[in-house]
Subunit: 137 residues, 2 copies
DNA sequence: CTTAATATCTCTAGTCACTAGAGGTTCAAG
DNA sequence: CTTGAACCTCTAGTGACTAGAGATATTAAG
């Protein structure tokens, strides 16, 4: 039986966040000691690790909840799990692409200022001036 | 003189967001018509485009505000603008790296399920099982 | 000039995923 | 048995908006 602090240390999820997940229904209500403190079994530890992992991968809590509800499901219902993973992968890919474009532009802006500090800095101008961007956003 | 809707159409910033920026002090309080509606001049249009652009690049509003306050600054003060652009570029680069790692892993998870729908889907397991990840996160 | 459609106004509250703090109680080690 | 860390509940705050209610303004057509 693990205390909430031990759960936190083992999964890297902060204590208030664990309580928050419980409140949101992502974790079951745990047993309590005589003094009202939470005590968790290994199943809940696993589930918390699952949530952590899925969150790290960028899934919103809603999707995590959907995935949890599929626990023990079979057959066609499992297509949902596959869909979630797949659509998240595509979302991620788009975001990466967009961020890469922005990175290039930021590099351009940052270096616009190097060397000539005497006059008006180009950074301020470059942020405002969309014309000079390479791509669109 | 532009209405708030025209400002919105020209910059792509939604109407309520423009009011929100004004409330946060990022945009000056505009003139008003006799009927209390906002009317903007070209300077505010430029500033809104600046904010939009900087936000697109991932700068938090706090940094945008800092940049705005540098308008018309000279000399050493401009190093701040450069710093902001530069540190944002580095933040961005880290995020891209992390997202790329996650993308690889998601791909692995999503494809774990392809083909064999008969039994328990691997997606559910893979999300919970950190062991099988290639990298750390 | 009137009417109708659209745009705008203020204000409050909701979103997501937490995080912080107050003020109090319980547990585990020495 | 005492102390100090960990725990409890509850409320409110974060960032960057977004949504809705209910009222008023503006604009184009007839």
């Amino acid at each position: 039986m693990l205390s909430i602090g031990q759960m936190s240390r083992r999964t890297g999820v902060k204590v208030p966040t664990i309580r928050f997940y419980e409140q949101k229904g992502l974790l079951p209500e745990p047993e309590r000691t005589a003094g009202n403190q939470r005590r968790y079994g290994p199943a809940t530890l696993n589930r918390l690790a699952f949530i952590r992992h899925a969150r790290d991968l960028g899934l919103p809590l809603e999707d995590v909840a959907a995935l949890i509800s599929l626990e023990g499901a079979q057959g066609a219902a499992l297509d949902r799990a596959h869909d979630i993973a797949h659509s998240q992968q595509m979302r991620l890919h788009e975001r990466i692409d967009k961020l890469k474009r922005l990175e290039r532009e930021l590099g351009r802006i940052a270096s616009a200022c190097d060397g000539n500090h005497d006059h008006v800095c180009a950074v301020l101008h470059a942020f405002g001036d969309h014309q000079t961007c390479e791509g669109e956003h």
